[in-house]
Amino acid sequence: MLSDFDFSVIADSLPFLWSGLQFTLKLTLTAMLGGIFLGTLLALARLSSVAPLATAATWYINIMRSIPLVMVILWFFLVIPLLTGAPMGAENSALVTFTLFEAAFYAEIMRAGIQSVTRGQVAAGYAIGFSYSQNMRFVILPQAFRNMLPVLLTQTIVLFQDTSLVYAIGAKDLLKASEIAGKNYNRPVEMVVFVALVYFVICFALSYTVKRLSRRR
């Protein structure tokens, strides 16, 4: 029963949990920045008129989007050391996996963004003498990015929640830290409740901000 709960253990393990949260945030930010960068390149490739490039990008995006993230995490953790010949820590493996995985999702958002820029704008860019890459850089991508900002942020909230899945390879994020702390104090239940609360507060605040942001525009 709830009255049996002992929440004092949370105060004692806060520093430890904070180190876990730090990794969660680092993973989120890395995968967001790297994912948006790679995702934009993927989107450009998918929309490119060079057929093999477009096909390759489409395949990459579709494959990533139809495999469960847990499986992708397991795949990378298994395959990267085989390819590089050296073992890779769970944390580093997670950073690489999430960047490459999220890129597929950001790519689809950026593609929609690029397609949302009107033909007139594209034509106007070329009309003043921009090359393809100049037109992308100065005219199309800035507008695409601005149009898709709320969706990009929403995807980042999803990403933030998904980072908890590094549990599968034992990387020490917020969730794993709480599990370790729960075992140390023999209080797993309190830890799960606390961690759920932390995730909820952060995600709720972020999604509320995104909602306000998209309403204002």
Partner: protein
């Protein structure tokens, strides 16, 4: 790459048992299907109900539905699994709590289904709400003007149109259910991901294992996609573009 390939591994017996690895994977496939399909059924029913309530004029009901969506949407699925598995039994009355922890049959399966069903219901609810809100307000008025009560207006006018409209977005949710069911490995459901990890450790043939499991997930996603496409074709209304119940036709 220094890897010892062995594609015949699936037919070899597991260590210290007389099953083959293929048996493990098929068991896992079965549990994945069981969890996903029962969770999807639950999510559809609850999601339609909650999404509908969000659009009703009743403030308390709409607020309750909104709270439902926010609650299940803002906590990672894996953490929700742990909440249902470790925390919820503690909140029950003592005898019930003991029974759940010790005697409840298929405890992992029930917990995972419940958790995944509720999680998905909040996403279905959002789609259903968006579908209802996309209908022209005149449809609601036309239903009421004909003498329908509000529930009748929902049942005969708004929901049939809104649900047709949300079939395409629900397709990706249906595919997500199979993907998300993989999280159930963490509370010990013997589904595909659980079996994959177990087979990898046991056989040390990780690539073959993951390849087979990934293929099975592909089959789920592909089948889900085809089923929804079939439903979309079957429910299409003559004279109406696919997914376009909202537009006025003024020709």
């Amino acid at each position: 790459m220094n890897y010892h390939w062995n594609w015949g591994i699936f037919l070899e017996p597991v260590k210290g048992g007389d099953e083959t690895y293929l048996d493990w994977l098929l068991t896992g496939f079965g549990w994945t299907l069981a969890v996903s399909l029962s969770a999807w059924l639950m999510a559809l029913m609850l999601g339609i109900l909650v999404g509908t309530l969000r659009t009703t004029p009743s403030k308390p009901l709409a607020a309750l539905a909104a709270a439902w969506v926010e609650l299940f949407r803002n906590i990672p699925l894996l953490v929700q699994m742990f909440l249902w598995f470790f925390v919820v039994p503690e909140l029950l009355p003592r005898e019930l709590s003991l029974w759940v922890k010790q005697d409840m049959p298929a405890k992992e399966f029930i917990t995972a289904t419940l958790c995944l069903g509720l999680f998905t219901s909040s996403r279905v609810a959002e789609q259903v709400r968006a579908g209802i809100e996309a209908l022209p307000s005149g449809q609601r008025m036309a239903g009421l003007a004909l003498g329908f009560t509000l529930p009748q207006t929902y049942r005969h006018v708004l929901l049939p149109c809104a649900l047709r409209m949300v079939v395409p977005p629900l397709t990706s949710e249906f595919m997500n259910v199979f993907k998300n069911s993989s999280v159930a490995f963490a509370i010990g459901v013997l589904e595909l991901t659980f079996q994959a990890r177990q087979m990898q450790e046991d056989s040390e043939q990780g690539i073959e294992t993951f390849f087979a499991v990934t293929l099975l997930y592909f089959i789920c996603a592909f089948t889900a996609n085809r089923v929804m496409a079939l439903i979309e074709r079957r429910t299409r209304v003559p004279g109406q573009m696919a997914g376009q119940m909202a537009g006025h036709q003024t020709t």
